[in-house]
């Protein structure tokens, strides 16, 4: 089943086509989410939400554009949503700690510590820089394609990518100097 047939099948609501789409692009979406968020459980949730949104909104997809870019745009936005949600919850829980709350019920009151990012160095980058670096290194996208995913101009995408490459290289060099010196 090629890409166009899979899309047609998904538009018709065919579960086999939807499964084929998840199997064809699942690893790609999961890796982007994992690199942007840095937490496997959240990345899997983002992956699930991305495909559900794709199935719901596939009729809006413009076939003149690359399907992969469209899919990555949704995955990137859902990853940002997840990061915002985590940030809001963190701020909320910190406030709640100082202003005693009514006792909560159900589940573990102490959320598990987030898993480390694939590399601690990536924590030094903003989510947009991490996304730009991932799309450039893993997917070989150009600045123009990255700009479509990040919803910015191509020159801004180049700046994100440049800053990401520069920051990580400097950190690697510092770590190397510390190890040898």
């Amino acid at each position: 089943m090629n890409e166009q047939e899979t899309i047609d099948g998904c538009l018709a609501g065919d579960p086999l086509s939807q499964r084929a789409m998840v199997e064809a692009y699942g690893d790609l979406v999961l890796s982007v989410a994992l690199n942007v968020i840095g937490n496997r459980q959240d990345a899997e949730d983002v992956c699930q939400e991305t495909f559900l949104q794709v199935f719901r909104r596939l009729a809006r997809y413009d076939r003149a554009r690359s399907f992969k870019t469209w899919l990555l745009t949704i995955a990137y936005r859902r990853s940002l949503d997840m990061l915002r949600k985590k940030r809001r919850f963190k701020a909320f829980s910190e406030r709640a700690r100082f202003e005693p709350a009514v006792a909560g019920r159900g589940g573990n009151p102490h959320p598990a510590a987030p898993e480390p990012l694939p590399s601690a160095l990536l924590k030094k980058l903003s989510p947009r820089e991490r996304a730009a670096l991932t799309l450039w290194a893993n997917e070989g996208l150009t600045a123009k394609d990255i700009s479509a995913v990040l919803a910015c101009s191509a020159s801004t995408a180049r700046v994100f990518l440049f800053n990401a490459r520069r920051k990580i290289k400097a950190l690697l060099e510092n770590a190397h100097v510390l190890q040898n010196g």
Partner: protein
């Protein structure tokens, strides 16, 4: 422009438009600055590649179950003018709701007021008991409930 000057300016003026201009005007075209950037191979070594992300096929049962729950029918693109119709219907509904509330308020007796008590038995997210936090700021009548999946 020398690389050192560019570096100093880049560090000294943290204004994005200026940094963007600096990168475009010098650093992108300078071989020495380019040599101080992470290569694609180095970046791949730090990132999770799609073939190392794990088996995404295992996500299909979750996605299929959620799809069943939320309904199979995909959205169709809205016809032109649909947005305006939606706005008009929402505005009408708002007017009716406000009028209804005003009429009810006029006829409500004090005894009919709801008791000042908030109760929540349990919260399920994704079919499982969720972590639930009930929060009431001191001196406020507002109650916030935050629920998230149990890890």
């Amino acid at each position: 422009m020398f690389c050192r000057t560019a570096d100093l300016l880049h560090a000294a003026l943290p204004l994005r438009p200026f940094r963007d201009w600096l990168i475009r005007s010098h650093m992108e075209g300078c071989p020495r600055c380019q040599a101080r950037l992470l290569s694609r191979e180095e970046a791949r070594g730090l990132l999770v590649a799609p073939d190392r992300a794990g088996d995404a096929r295992g996500l299909w049962p979750r996605i299929a179950a959620e799809r069943e729950r939320s309904g199979r029918v995909p959205e169709t693109p809205r016809a032109a003018g649909a947005a305006w119709r939606a706005v008009a219907v929402s505005a009408l509904a708002l007017v009716i709701a406000v009028t209804g509330l005003w009429v009810l308020r006029e006829t409500e007796t004090p005894a009919a007021a709801a008791p000042d008590r908030f109760e929540i038995s349990y919260v399920n997210v994704g079919g499982a008991p969720a972590q639930t936090f009930v929060y009431q700021p001191q001196g406020s009548d507002s109650v916030f409930v935050w629920a998230q999946k149990t890890p």
